[in-house]
Symmetry: C2
Subunit: 478 residues, 2 copies
């Protein structure tokens, strides 16, 4: 529209002198170098800001869970130890050029928890051995067939065994325990059967390689066990305990939020909303629970956990906790939906709902304490009893609702007020509250499932009997 | 208690001859060899039975998802191809003893989906390059420091960089995209910086290694892309579609189950119970959805999916689907709990609940069809409208419940029957039904969230407009 005319939009600085003259300050033209510098400067500044926020985030991850820092230092230590072999001439010459395999083993095998490290070590060893023996066998067989057919036999064996081992990784039981082993099997079998065709000193190579891999694996196991050990079993135990605590927190928070007075609600909203979300971590913890239980099976006895600790039972407890969390999720949806219950009804049901939810939450807290101290609680039956009484009371309160409503209507009809307009209101107004009450009752029954599973765990794992759960809190394992 | 006396508990065979005499048949003593044979025989038989059930299970896994068989054949093919290099003397001598690295790359990098394979290839390449350059740099620096200090500088650099790279794997954004790259970085850096101290022909080694790794990676990519490609993006799309279908199945089944007549229920119980469990897969699909979405980002355009297909939006759709599944889980708990609602009430609410659930299920089915055909449905608004009408009708039906009850009570009080005994029953009897109705209304609101997310996906991914969804079913991508 401006047809080639450029609009003059730069700023002008005018200096009004006391004698009335006006001087216009002209901005100096910036040279291309200066502009490039400014552009670079902006770029660098932006990069630094992004990098620093990223570093801060990363730092916070470590601060929130110092075990992660420790793990990193452990990896560094193990690698430094293994690299020493390169610098010690006598050691290096003992294993030939294969010292590389020790480094590789440490990098690949060292995992966060001891269980995972052991799982990888055992799998690597088993996979290598089986594949090595099979590889030698196939190699020997191929040689017997003559030089012409040898490559064909080897090719076919590689194809078949690689396909079979790959398929085995899709089978759930194999995947859970030997996934890594199957991969190592394929790798070693290919290396042995193929390179057997070339390398003449196959036996010597195998011997050296085995030596270096064992060296690397032992350095991993020793470092991970001696320096601040992180046990998968203990982590699983702590995760389940934490999930129980989160559940009770969410349960407490969601009712304080719902029934709070307006003033209190506004002040505390941020805090409770955050608490309310605690159960969301529980909803998706299945995968990590399963992998931890898998790794825990490989661990020796440690701390309060014996060799055949019932790790499978933890998965059942976890499933029961999740089933409660689903219920809380739905409850949260109902609470957040638009409720226009009359204040009188709210007050009528308030005490019952709050007491039931707090008794349920108490039971869950007691279970968390049981897990934390690894003791059987003698007072849990009392808490369950209180929860059940609260269930009956709530049911009783619900029973009394319609009678009150009906009485009002009867009075209204006695006073000759049109009953059509008054008696269609009640159920829809009660409905959200009745649903919440009903979900709370359902929740209580699910809490009892958790109690059952935790008790079974306590029996299987021989938790000590504790008559006074308060005084033994000091024996906490976490 | 028997004080050393052994009880004679073996069986006796007595033959009563016609002349009255009794002959006792003595069992022949089994020789130790025979017993060993029998024991071995039993052991082998048991092993064969266990093995055959295991093989049958494994076979069924493959039959249910033939893509798994295909993947295994692809791995076998890729390994056979790469092992050819060992047999071709000219190729082998070109890369020295490093042909091993090609085999290793294929075994480690070849994954189920193309996205995962590309992710690993890119990560391996990037990790190797960065670590290689850095390793050379550190190695050069260490040489400048003199022979005495050289190992110390190398040790410190290995410790620091390994710890830093290990820590980076804990940061969620890095873990999602570069977890494997970080591991390869540590591995390569250690190998380069440490072996640099020994191997004099470092550059030549790096050159050969790079060549072989590239060779292995290209074989992987070519095989996975050309032979029956399995795209992570397509799998994610199919997973979300299947989850929608499962949701609607479960919704249909759980109400047929609940409101069915006794006779029908008993006959069909097994079938519907199985259908009912379909939503359980949806509850725990978050992890696999996230990993698929991660891999899908690495894939080039394929089929109906463009390069920048909104994979992140799939996660939002998945979350909305899961939120519905939580609701169904709770609903299922309520339906399975002991309900003693009077038949008249059941009938009153039955039509409303069934129609709402079937309309909700229809909306979900329509969404599944939208996803399957990748077209915008013009009839979805009608289905949503029908669902909303069903919500209003159900709310209306609930409104009418108390008035009916009240009318009965009013009539009862007119007939001078004691009102105390009749009017305390209603709400507790309505409660389970009212809860189910209320949860269905909540479910309908969550279905609308899915609709919103799927529509957003349709906008972002430019789904074609489809005026007649029935006739275009043939364009299905699965």
């Amino acid at each position: 529209m401006t047809n080639g005319q450029e609009l003059h939009t730069t700023l002008e600085w005018r200096v009004h002198a006391p004698d009335g003259t006006v001087e216009i300050l002209v901005q100096e033209e910036l040279g291309p170098r200066w502009r490039l510098f400014r552009w670079m400067h902006g770029l660098v500044a932006e990069f630094i800001i992004k990098l620093s926020t990223f570093m801060l985030k990363a730092w916070n991850i470590g601060v929130n869970d110092p075990k992660k820092f420790i793990h990193c230092l452990k990896v560094g230590t193990a690698l430094s130890l293994v690299s020493l072999f390169y610098y010690m001439r006598t050691l290096y010459e003992g294993v030939g050029g294969n010292a590389m395999w020790a480094v590789m083993t440490v990098v690949v095998v060292f995992e966060y928890s001891i269980g995972a490290t052991l799982y990888k070590c055992v799998n690597r060893a088993a996979g290598t051995l089986v594949a090595g023996v099979l590889g030698f066998g196939v190699h020997w067989m191929a040689i017997q067939c003559g030089e012409e057919i040898e490559p064909i036999v080897l090719e076919i064996s590689v194809f078949l065994l690689a396909a079979a081992a790959t398929f085995s990784r899709f089978i759930p039981t194999v995947k859970a325990r030997f996934d890594y082993g199957a991969m190592v099997f394929i790798l070693t079998f290919c290396l042995v059967s193929i390179s057997g065709y070339r390398v003449d000193q196959l036996f010597e190579m195998a011997h050296h390689r085995l030596l270096t891999v064992t060296l690397g694996a032992s350095i991993c196991i020793i470092t991970s066990m001696l320096v601040c050990p992180i046990w998968a079993g203990q982590e699983l135990h702590a995760l389940i305990t934490r999930n129980l605590e989160k559940l009770s927190e969410s349960l407490d928070a969601c009712f304080i939020d719902f029934f709070a007075d307006r003033g209190v609600k506004n002040v505390s909203h941020g805090y409770f909303s955050k608490m309310n979300q605690a159960y969301k971590c529980v909803l998706n913890s299945k995968t990590s629970e399963e992998s931890m239980a898998n790794f825990a099976r490989w661990e020796p006895a440690h701390g309060d956990f014996k060799f055949r600790h019932p790790w499978k039972q933890y998965l059942k407890v976890g499933a029961a906790i999740r089933s409660c969390a689903y219920c809380i999720e739905t409850l949260n949806g109902c609470i957040n939906s638009d409720i226009r219950a009359p204040e009188t009804l709210k007050k009528h049901l308030k005490d019952m709902c709050v007491s039931l939810s707090s008794y349920s939450s108490n039971v869950i807290k007691e279970l968390a304490a049981m897990m934390k101290t690894m003791t059987k609680s003698s007072s849990i039956h009392i808490s369950i009893g209180q929860m059940n009484i609260a269930v009956y009371e709530l049911q009783d309160a619900l029973k009394n609702v319609p009678s009150q409503v009906v009485v009002q209507i009867l009075q209204a009809s006695n006073n000759s007020i049109n009953k059509e307009t008054t008696n269609t209101r009640p159920l829809l107004e009660i409905l959200p509250l009745a649903t919440i009450a009903s979900l709370l009752i359902e929740l209580a029954s699910r809490v009892e499932v958790i109690v059952k599973e935790v008790n079974q765990l306590a029996d299987q794992a021989d938790f000590a009997l504790n008559s006074n759960s308060g005084s033994k809190e000091t024996h906490s394992i976490t």
